[in-house]
């Protein structure tokens, strides 16, 4: 017995390391599969994290000790609200704040094509803010003369050094800055370096006196918020007790965390897609482990013969899988960080398009992401290795030496898996019909469906092989022999072939599903766009269009537009303000509701226009205010026509009734559409974010937008678009939004391709004996090649058919379950034949690889070695 441990350890060590040395490519592919799965998860997670941390940094770092914000329910708050607070709590550390983004135009004399830069102006009262934000070095920068300039001179700003370097500004430099409604002049009275960590995260800042900021943004007497630093909970409670009407206090954590709430569904979708990639990695490990077990069957038999129990055998495979998982995770972390640095721009652009402007911070690995990487690597490796490990460890010692018996074991498993597949699909259906389905439930539907189709791949392959055998068996010619052998071979090695089919089908299904969903979504958006945008011209601030920053149009511009002889009637006004409804962020859009309804600009999914028009006419007198709710909001909050809602307004909550629910793809936050007359009266807000303009018939036609852009753009910082521009801009944003989806789908496909490659090679490796036998019996190379190609084609076609079915199911789940539950958008599905063709090309590629590999391998094997195994 004394020699046992060492001897057995030697065998085990040989079992793992020896195999790795002999088959490094196989090991590499397995590790690569796990790596890719982990990398996609880490990449997406880290990229989104960099964006949210960037947002949080922009919220926190400039306000020093400030811990809370007092903000209006919507729009701005009057200076007097600050005064009320000061009066009620004179000891409270508080400063009025204006915080907005601007577009800095190139300096005069700058080279042609020099881009505009995005900057941020924070206006505050340095005197009341002295105790609040002194740590940022702003006060120090405002000594003596520059302090007087800062306070007294209109347009005076203090600029952070990184921005000054970027725009080429020095003390005394005058810059032209687009505030949204107008271009104004600012001049730099001091350049400062902020203290860390703000120094590295706040690189676009200009600080102005509160008076200067109000003047620059044309908002005299109004503030964006009041930043406060209550000394303790009692003082905070006191603040809550004296808050002016229409404002609320929230912590900076709330403000920083708002981004999480805002992009929650988007982040979840990205994460789900990334997990899909790691899901495919499971199949790779499965294949590798199964093949590894096949390759080492002799050694395993020996180990069992010398008394090693099945638990010990299982341990060997578990250790092997764990090591592969951890190595894959470690490499995956680095690959993920590299991936994240590429994805972060895409993610931030999409968040900017859909939600709010973010400046991502540098990509770095968070402990949570690192933990996720370890878990994903280990779980995908262990999950993939589980079934083959059980199979290998339960093999009776003698059977381990008989290949034929090993091959036949898969039959029983395929039956079990078929039942499991049915179970998974049934579970998916349960989650579909479950009332009050959540987003997580929607992903459960996708997960169970994908798993179901993956599991069904084994029995489907078995059935396909049986069908092919029947077809090939019908022809009694010599030419029918290779196909017959191929069909039977596929059926016999179902453990390997079935998994290869599953992995391939899953990858293709993802492509088909995503392409179908995205194509349908795109079509729905453009159809909606054509219905909603029926004017001739669309005017919006350049700041909004170039940098996705909310900005308003100058009233002088609107007056000029409406006075133009070529313009037919008043503009169609649009004003968007952020509100919170039912605890969720939403948009309140004020427009001419009557013209909107009369012009058929709304695609109603529920409700009618009559009740709203009656209410606008005052029938019956004193009728409540009608609003229309966009579908995303209606889905999230369960609003239906006839419901009464309470909108946050400056003085007190404003009641309105839901007249209808309409299709809207503007924001997944959801929109409440209200008549602008009511909005102006209640919200005291005359601003406009966009204006739609109808032209007299003679002025319409190509070139109108450019013509009017010359007229109005010369005086105001606006962009004038026509319908075609809006369509192409929408397409651009849409495509950018889904570019990351494409990237992830192809990454998942790449993972699957590794799986397929591994499976095909494994199949070939496990067939060397058989091929050698056939060769020895006189089968030509051509016949062997035909057999292999037929085998691969059979696998590919089975996978393709499965992928078409699974892809369609996934498309439906993505559109009608996930999109609907995540964002509240619904749209009809349209087939995407291109995706079918892409999938077919994938199959052909796999068939070619699968056909060639075995014939290449068999050349190197000798009859003796091939037959020796038995």
């Amino acid at each position: 017995m004394s020699g046992w441990p060492g001897g057995r350890f030697g065998l085990v060590r040989g079992l793992i390391l020896g195999d790795a040395k002999r088959h490094p490519l196989s090991l590499l592919l397995t590790v690569l599969g796990v790596t890719l799965g982990v990398a996609v998860v880490v990449g997406v997670d880290t990229a989104v994290d960099a964006c949210t941390r960037g947002f949080a940094a922009s919220v926190r770092s400039i306000v020093g000790d400030t811990s809370h914000r007092i903000e209006p329910a919507s729009g701005t708050m009057a200076d007097e609200a600050f005064a009320e607070l000061r009066l009620a709590m004179p000891d409270l550390l508080a400063t009025p704040v204006i915080d907005r983004r601007v577009r800095i135009l190139p300096l005069e004399g700058a080279p042609e094509g020099e881009p505009t830069r995005l900057g941020r102006i924070i206006g505050l009262d340095v005197l009341s803010a002295a105790d609040v934000a002194a740590d940022q070095g702003i006060e120090e920068a405002l000594e003596d003369a520059s302090f007087q300039s800062f306070i007294a001179e209109p347009g005076a700003v203090v600029m952070v050094k990184p921005l000054a370097e970027r725009v080429g500004a020095e003390v005394g430099t005058r810059l032209r800055v687009d505030m949204g409604d107008a271009v104004r002049s600012v001049h730099v009275v001091s350049i400062i370096e902020l203290e860390p960590p703000a120094r590295s995260t706040v690189t676009d800042l200009m600080v102005a006196d509160i008076a200067t900021a109000q003047e620059l943004f044309s908002m005299p007497g109004h503030l964006d918020r009041v930043d406060i630093a209550p000394r303790d909970d009692a003082e905070l409670e006191a603040v809550r007790g004296v808050l002016p009407v229409g404002v609320s206090v929230r912590t900076l954590d709330d403000a920083a965390g708002a981004i999480e709430e805002l992009i929650g569904a988007y982040r979840l979708n990205l994460l789900a897609l990334s997990f899909m990639a790691s899901f495919v990695a499971v199949f790779i490990v499965y294949n590798a482990t199964l093949i590894g077990a096949e390759r080492r069957s002799g050694t395993l038999g020996t180990l069992r013969c010398v008394g090693m129990r099945s638990v010990g055998i299982a341990g060997v495979f578990v250790i092997e899988a764990a090591v592969i998982g951890l190595i894959g995770a470690a490499v995956g972390v680095f690959a993920g960080l590299w991936l994240a640095s590429g994805l972060v721009e895409l993610v931030s652009a999409t968040i900017g398009d859909l939600y709010t402007r973010v400046n991502p911070v540098e990509v770095s690995l968070s402990p949570v992401s690192a933990a996720k990487a370890a878990v994903v690597g280990l779980v995908s490796a262990l999950a993939g290795a589980a079934a083959p490990t059980v199979l290998a460890s339960r093999t009776p010692p003698m059977s381990a030496f008989r290949a034929t018996e090993r091959a036949d074991r898969s039959w029983a498993w395929s039956m079990v898996l078929a039942l499991a597949a049915v179970g998974c699909l049934a579970l998916a259906w349960v989650f579909v019909v479950w009332p009050q389905g959540s987003i997580v439930g929607a992903f459960a539907v996708a997960g169970f469906t994908a798993t179901g189709f993956a599991l069904v791949a084994l029995p489907a392959t078995k059935v396909a092989s049986a069908l092919a055998s029947v077809l090939a068996g019908g022809h009694r010619s010599g030419r029918a022999l290779p196909p017959l052998l191929a069909a039977r071979g596929v059926g016999r090695s179902i453990g390997v072939t079935g998994v290869a089919v599953a992995a391939t089908a899953l990858a293709m299904a993802m492509n088909i599903g995503l392409l179908t969903m995205v194509g349908s979504f795109r079509h729905a958006v453009l159809t909606w766009l054509d219905g909603r945008y029926q004017s001739d011209l669309y005017i919006a601030p350049a700041l909004a269009l170039e940098h996705r920053v909310p900005a308003t149009l100058s009233p002088e511009l609107i007056a000029a537009v409406e006075a133009h002889p070529d313009v037919a009637g008043p503009v169609m006004p649009y004003r968007h303000v952020n509100i919170e409804l039912g605890g969720l962020p939403a948009l309140l859009t004020a427009t001419d509701l009557r013209r909107t309804l009369d012009g058929g600009l709304l695609q109603l999914v529920d409700g009618d226009t009559r009740s709203a028009l009656d209410a606008l006419d005052g029938e019956p007198p004193g009728a409540a205010t009608p609003v229309y709710i966009s579908q995303p909001l209606a889905v999230k909050l369960g609003f239906r026509p006839g419901d009464t809602i309470s909108l946050p307004a400056p003085e007190e909550p404003f009641p309105a009734f839901v007249a209808g629910v309409y299709t809207d793809f503007v924001a997944d936050r959801g929109t409440v559409l209200i008549d602008r007359t009511v909005f102006r009266a209640v919200w005291h807000d005359d601003g406009l974010n966009a204006a739609h303009v109808s032209l007299e018939p003679h002025a319409r036609g190509e070139g109108a937008a450019a013509r009017f852009a010359d007229v109005w753009g010369a005086e105001f910082p606006v962009v004038v678009h026509d319908h075609a521009d809006i369509r192409s801009e929408t397409k651009r944003i849409f495509d950018r939004t889904f570019r990351i989806t494409d990237v992830l789908a192809w990454l998942a496909g790449l993972v699957a391709l590794f799986g397929l490659g591994g499976a095909v090679l494994a199949l070939a490796a496990s067939r060397t004996r058989e091929l050698a036998t056939l060769s020895a019996l006189g089968m030509s190379r051509g016949q062997l090649l035909a057999r292999s190609a037929t085998e691969a084609a059979l696998l590919g076609l089975t996978a393709w058919v499965l992928a078409l079915i699974a892809g369609s199911a996934l498309a439906w789940i993505l559109a009608d379950v996930i999109q609907y539950r995540s964002f509240g958008w619904s749209f009809p599905l349209r087939p995407a034949p291109v995706s079918w063709g892409v999938a077919l090309a994938f199959v052909v590629a796999a068939a070619v690889v699968g056909g060639l590999a075995p014939s290449l391998l068999v050349r190197k094997d000798t009859l003796v070695r091939g037959l020796g195994d038995e």
Binding site: D79, R86, P90, Q148, A152, E215, P220
Partner: protein, 372 residues
């Protein structure tokens, strides 16, 4: 009442009109023409200006109170910005914060009977809606506290905080009195080291004083100062002692001195306003100050004299005694300057009561020239 804020650097500039210091603020260097009520309003261009009230009041049931209410206007940059820049910022849209002023106020009630002292301070940037002073009459308000000339020509005083309040109407009996020729009140020998300074030395006052939520109908006498300047303290002046006294014989007396680093008199001045008659003014050589007794503040460590023997030539010798200890104002929200603002009684050297008044002692916790 002396400066609490704003000792700008000083240099001899050309004697062009109006004279300014090196920061560009106007200085009080020459007699000026006065016109009331217009000169009760603000005087733009000067770095600091204040409207200061104190008084001794008695309720119907004999309860005695003292009060202080002072409004300060601090100009942050020279010039009348709200007016000057009206058309320079892209045409319109001038911010109400643009005035370039900081306003703050101190409010105190001395409950003499119960020997308790309440004080509060508040401050904010100038804003027409809640922190401003009228240009052409007396109307100064800050976050709900206010003093203004009502339709009867009386002065109203309104302030409230934490259950303590005053709501008073003051009828002018004596004043305005100019301290110095043309209102120039010198505070030293350096260029521009002076203020424009006038007082309404006697205001017959009635109204309500509220302490701890309990309102008391009161009447008595008040004193009002208005002073504006741009630089007063020199580097070697550590603080001041200031007294405003109502004598029962009808005379009103204002006496102040600026202390040097040794605690002695660096510069002194006094005005005695007879009833009736022309005010008489006295300078350093004619005025003497003799402190007696000490009260040390447990909060700031400032050791303030409890009583003073004040002498103005052959015209006046009085003992001024704080009504009770602890009347220390700590302006934690508005500059962190600590000073004694005490209701006093006026006695002759034999201890016979001659009247009431207020004294203000600064720079006892820390030299004021280091603080400002």
């Amino acid at each position: 009442m002396m400066v609490l804020v704003g000792a700008g650097s000083m240099a001899c500039t050309a004697l062009a009109q109006p004279a300014r210091n090196t920061d560009g603020f106007l200085v009080a260097d020459a007699p000026r023409e006065w016109s009331f009520p217009e000169d009760f309003g603000r005087h733009p261009g000067y770095q600091i200006e204040w409207w200061y009230y104190t008084g001794n009041l008695v309720s119907e049931d004999g309860r005695e109170f003292g009060y202080q209410l002072t409004f300060f206007r601090n100009e942050l940059a020279p010039g009348d910005h709200a007016a000057e820049l009206m058309n320079e910022v892209d045409g319109t849209h001038v911010s109400p914060w643009r005035g370039g002023e900081y306003h703050f106020a101190h409010f105190a009630i001395s409950d003499i009977t119960s020997e308790t002292f309440f004080h509060a301070d508040v401050g904010t940037r100038g804003h027409p809606s809640f922190a401003s002073a009228a240009d052409d009459t007396l109307d100064v308000h800050l976050l709900g506290w206010r003093t203004f000339l009502d339709e009867h020509g009386d002065i109203r005083l309104i302030a409230e905080r934490d259950g303590h309040a005053i709501d008073l109407t003051a009828t002018i009996v004596n004043g305005p009195i100019l301290h110095g020729p043309g209102g120039v009140s010198p505070k030293g020998d350096e260029f521009g080291q002076a203020s424009y300074y006038h007082s309404i030395t006697r205001l017959a006052t009635s109204g309500t004083v509220t302490t701890h939520g309990e309102a008391h109908e009161v009447s008595g006498l008040s004193w009002m100062d208005q002073e504006f300047s741009s630089n007063q303290l020199s580097d070697d002046q550590t603080g001041w002692d200031w007294f405003a006294l109502h004598l029962d014989d009808g005379r009103d007396v204002m006496i102040y001195r600026l202390r040097d680093t040794a605690g002695g008199t660096d510069y002194a001045f006094a005005t005695i306003v007879p009833s009736p008659g022309e005010p008489a003014r006295f300078t350093t050589d004619e005025v003497s100050f003799e402190p007696g007794g000490t009260w040390t503040s447990p909060d700031t460590g400032g050791a303030y004299p409890r009583e003073w023997t004040l002498t103005v030539g052959d015209h006046l010798t009085v003992v001024v005694r704080s009504r009770f200890d602890g009347q220390e104002v700590r302006s934690e929200n508005t500059g962190d300057v600590n000073y004694l603002e005490a209701a006093v009684e006026v006695l002759n050297v034999e201890g016979v009561r001659l009247g009431t008044g207020y004294m203000e002692l600064t720079g006892y916790d820390k030299p004021l020239n280091e603080r400002l």
